[in-house]
């Protein structure tokens, strides 16, 4: 099994197959993973009807690879797998998968959250939401910067 996989793509992914790939070698006792999903489907006038993800080809892959390097400098990890979808996505659709294998659960959890916090603030993706009132670019959130700062203290 390849120790690392970073994939930017339109197509959906199979969470079970990703986790299986991370645990398959039998040396990792712990696999922590995260799946981000398009929220929406509410009744409000500004409910999200669809979302379009744009990215910066080339830099995205570099940024994600760099984030994994940083994670490996902090924790002894097994496999790491990252998938981020681009293009148009509907409410309920998966956007992102981050899975981390480790010998112990605390390392796997910490590294998975670390990668998500860096991805949210460092990887060049941008979301545009479509609503009944029109389209709007999603604003960056201060809470994401605060989450990142936890690792930099």
């Amino acid at each position: 099994m390849e120790l690392e996989s970073i994939s930017i793509r339109h197509a959906d992914f199979d969470v079970g197959a990703e986790v299986e790939a991370l645990s398959g070698a039998g040396t990792a006792g712990a696999v922590a993973s995260f799946v981000g999903v398009v929220r929406g489907g509410g009744e409000q006038r500004d409910a999200v009807l669809a979302m379009t993800l744009e990215h910066y080809p080339g830099m995205t892959e570099r940024a994600l690879a760099d984030i994994v390097v940083r994670a490996r400098q902090r924790w002894a990890l097994g496999g790491v797998r990252i998938i981020h979808r681009i293009g148009k996505l509907l409410p309920g659709e998966r956007i992102v998968f981050v899975g981390v294998a480790g010998r112990h659960r605390h390392e796997a959890f910490a590294a998975c959250e670390f990668i998500m916090d860096y991805l949210k603030t460092q990887a060049p993706f941008w979301k545009k939401e479509e609503t009944a009132e029109g389209a709007r670019w999603v604003d960056a959130r201060d809470s994401d910067d605060a989450a990142l700062a936890r690792w930099q203290g």
Binding site: E54, Y56, M59, A63, K120, W126, K127, W137, A140
Partner: protein
């Protein structure tokens, strides 16, 4: 010297451009100088001066003081919102 410039997301829409190949006059040798150089094009380009607009040189996030040299790829974009 020549640089390739890229614009993304809301900035791309505000400028009506995905990017351009540009010959820079002598003296325009930093990200800050490049911003100023582009701003004089007109009101639409004020979008580029917003402090929240970030820059990457050769696909690495940089501060405005970063050097720009011949052949560089310089990208401008708003704060990222992936994940």
């Amino acid at each position: 010297m020549g640089v390739r410039i890229l614009y993304f997301a809301s900035l791309r829409e505000a400028l009506g451009s995905e990017g351009e190949q540009l010959e820079l006059p002598a003296g325009v040798a930093s990200v800050a100088a490049l911003r100023t150089h582009l701003l004089v094009r007109g009101d639409a380009w004020l979008a580029l001066s917003a402090p929240r607009i970030r820059a990457a040189v050769n696909q690495v996030l940089v501060a405005d003081s970063a050097t720009v040299t011949d052949g560089d790829e310089v990208a401008f974009f708003p704060p990222v919102t992936g994940g």
